[in-house]
């Protein structure tokens, strides 16, 4: 009897397992494999053997020899890695704090739940590229941003804009796009907090900010941890926002200029020019970095997250 059940269970699971095997596990393992192959060509599937050099090439530690000249890949170490880390360090804390404040604000208004919740969720279901194009218009040198803030003529994302300006616009866009999902998660968490805790805090004359820091944040810590981990991972993989907002990897007419590169942007670009072995090496390194970050967060959360 038990055996038959097992067999049936596997049968039900089979479609998922097969799909996962084909589209998740196999590519995953293959990526690791390819990252150790020299001069891998995915059209022919050939390579010139096992090597550790791909990692060194990607990080620009070792020159690539072709036609007698040695050239170093500098885009990753110069742009992609710093940009990715800036995005992570700026947008993750900022979007979490803003989302938390908005959620707390919304939670104190009763009619919000039904009406505003939908409105706030709209950006989340809107395509990142489409939203990016709207932001691209906003950040035109004659756009809404400059109009509202009186910074007419400043280039944010056009050709000739400085990296700092473009990064600023990019971060604004990423934070804005990241808010709705976080607000939604925080709101549902807030609605589960017993209001007696707030009544108790009020009777004890705790101010609004103190209540937020001493009651709301600790009681919301499971949701905050979840959001922190997922948005760290998401920010490390930022790519579509650059495409959506700027449309190309650099703020210059020069095709080779890639000052807005992110790690994942580099990975996609490498695949497009048949450098899958570099892409795989970069992907593997990104994976390890994300893994380390996530483990650190879990470790920290042991002492910070309650329940």
């Amino acid at each position: 009897m038990e055996k038959k059940n097992n067999w049936k269970a596997w049968l039900y699971l089979a479609p998922v397992i097969i799909l996962m095997a084909v589209f998740t596990f196999y590519p995953l393992i293959n990526t690791i494999g390819i990252s150790f192959l020299a001069d891998y060509d995915y059209t022919t599937g050939t390579s010139s053997g096992f090597t550790f050099d791909n990692f060194a090439f990607v990080l620009g530690l070792k020159g690539v020899e072709s036609g007698g000249t040695v050239s170093y890949l500098t885009d990753v170490i110069q742009y992609a890695i710093p940009n990715t880390f800036i995005i992570v360090i700026v947008t993750v804390p900022l979007s979490i704090i803003i989302a938390l404040l908005i959620a707390v604000g919304l939670n104190s208004i009763r009619w919000v739940k039904s009406v505003l919740q939908t409105i706030f969720f709209m950006p989340y279901v809107t395509n990142a590229i489409a939203v990016g194009m709207v932001f691209a218009v906003i950040f035109e040198s004659t756009g809404l941003w400059n109009y509202v803030f009186g910074t007419m003529g400043t280039d944010w994302i056009n050709n000739g804009a400085s990296s700092a300006n473009a990064m600023f616009a990019l971060c604004v866009y990423i934070v804005w796009h990241a808010l709705p999902y976080k607000i939604l998660i925080f709101l549902s968490g807030l609605q589960n907090i017993d209001k007696q805790y707030y009544q108790a805090a009020q009777l004890d004359a705790a101010g609004k900010f103190k209540t937020l820091m001493n009651v709301t944040v600790p009681l919301l810590s499971p949701q905050i941890l979840y959001i922190m981990i997922t948005s760290f991972i998401g920010s490390f993989k930022e790519y579509s926002s650059v495409v959506g907002l700027i449309g190309k990897p650099g703020t210059s007419g020069d095709v080779g200029y890639r000052n807005m590169y992110t790690i994942v942007y580099y990975i996609y670009d490498s695949i497009a020019v048949n450098q899958t072995h570099y892409a795989s090496a970069a992907a593997l390194m990104l994976f390890i970095v994300i893994l380390i970050f996530t483990l650190i967060q879990f470790k920290v959360s042991k002492t910070r997250v309650h329940y």
């Binding site: 009544q199 009777l203 004890d204 103190k210 329940y307």
Partner: protein, 438 residues
């Protein structure tokens, strides 16, 4: 401090669209709670006890009526300014804080006023600026010229401070006739807090649990932590909302003694909400019985028991509950079935059917007077150690059976029995209003 509720009413608005009627949770409540006393607020579930408590605490705004603390009208005062300690029905301890931090939390917000002293250690007299202007000209020459925030009016009005030793003439008095000194508000220091926390923890006997989180404590311990948290800031009023409802029977007995002891030791005016009449009777100085938001009776527990105003109060108090019978009154004579029970009813009472309530301890076996006997049928005898409980039946009894509590030495057998009825344990209620006649 005395608490006075004047015509206190709370209506929760309904929703006419969805056909939900308004709820009058508390209806014209008029109660005076004497200073330093423990009052039990007693009533069945949903009668508005918690609502009353929350209004006193300031968490709910009354629809109408007033709340007075001593001679201060606090009806519109926000909760944090009322100086209330509230123990919630489910404690509401912060789950992420240790017991120590839970108790410390109210203290971290507390502001104390210290007098400001000059270099000689003298307190500094305070004058309102407008008072200074009105002073004779020779006095302002001693003015040190330093401006200080007025501690009496939220810092909005400036005052000037003087060196005490130079002050001549009449001191400036506040409205209570006391001399004003310059004071400074400050938070408690860590050491002061620690002392208070440990004192309070000792009072409720939880010193050994200070480093634990609430979920590592038993219900009774959590309850004591909740009381400590409410007491630590030395509130003017302590409110307890069914604090014992989560405890088992033994712990409940023990804890209610502790609450009584604590209240007596601290002398804080306390309101204790419960739907358990025994609990209320045993620890309260006075009890208030409520029904559907309306006060039914307020008195010392024994008075309410011995002298209930109406049928609801009589039925609500006492375990086992009072036995109810259908009776008849004619020319001052009360009968149940064919038996005459009392003859001392008011003669002017119209002939009518009434309800008769007889407390379980109100039966006499054997009957002492020949002329007042009540013929009942004994179905069962339960021995309960100190007492025996007699389960009887009577055709006029409202319930299928009723209970009498008798001394253990009494000799009774199952079957028909003539018992006496103690007149002071036998109450008569009108059928229509359920008000008590005698």
């Amino acid at each position: 401090m005395e608490i006075r509720l004047v015509n206190l009413t709370k209506v929760f608005p309904g929703n006419p669209k969805k056909n939900i009627p308004d709820t009058r949770a508390v209806d014209n409540l008029d109660i005076v709670i004497p200073d330093g006393k423990l009052i039990g607020l007693l009533g069945p579930s949903g009668c508005g006890k918690s609502t009353t408590l929350y209004m006193i605490a300031g968490l709910l705004e009354p629809t109408s009526g007033e709340i007075w603390f001593g001679d201060e009208d606090v009806t519109r005062l926000s909760p944090e300014k009322r100086g209330i300690g509230l123990v919630f029905q489910n404690y509401a301890l912060y789950p992420h804080m240790t017991v120590y931090k839970n108790i410390a939390f109210p203290l971290t917000n507390l502001l104390v006023e210290d007098p400001v002293v000059d270099e000689k250690g003298n307190k500094i007299l305070a004058f309102y600026r407008k008072h200074v202007k009105a002073l004779p000209t020779e006095i302002p020459t001693h003015l040190k010229g330093e401006k200080v925030k007025n501690p009496f009016k939220n810092g909005r009005e400036e005052i000037l401070k003087f060196d005490c030793s130079h002050i001549a003439g009449d001191p400036i008095l506040d409205d209570k006739g006391e001399q004003l000194y310059v004071t400074r508000k400050r938070h408690l220091t860590k050491i002061e807090m620690d002392k208070l926390i440990r004192e309070t923890a000792k009072l409720v006997q939880i010193e050994q649990y200070l480093t634990r989180k609430p979920n590592q404590l038993s219900g009774g311990q959590q309850q004591r932590v909740a009381i400590a948290r409410a007491l630590v800031k030395r509130p003017r009023v302590l409110l307890l909302d069914e604090p014992l409802s989560n405890l088992d029977a033994r712990l409940r007995l023990q804890t209610r003694e502790e609450i009584k002891r604590l209240q007596r030791d601290t002398g804080i005016t306390t309101i204790f909400v419960t739907h358990d009449q025994e609990e209320a009777m045993s620890i309260s100085d006075e009890i208030v019985v409520m029904k559907l938001g309306v006060e039914q009776q307020r008195d010392h527990p024994q008075e309410v028991y011995n002298d209930p105003k109406n049928m609801f109060v009589a039925q609500f108090l006492g375990t086992p509950p009072i036995n109810m019978f259908n009776g008849h009154v004619k020319k001052g004579v009360l009968t149940i079935g064919d038996d005459v029970i009392r003859e001392d009813l008011p003669k002017d009472l119209d002939e009518q059917d009434v309800y008769v309530g007889i407390r379980p301890e109100g039966f006499l076996v054997p009957a002492d007077k020949k002329d007042y006997v009540f013929n009942i049928n004994v179905d069962m005898i339960e021995t309960m150690g100190r007492d025996i409980s007699l389960v009887g039946s009577h055709k006029e009894s409202i319930k299928p059976s009723f209970k009498a509590i008798l001394d253990a030495d009494t000799k009774v057998n199952v079957g028909p029995l003539a018992v006496g009825v103690k007149p002071n344990k036998c109450f008569v209620f009108l059928k229509d209003t359920e008000e008590r006649v005698i």
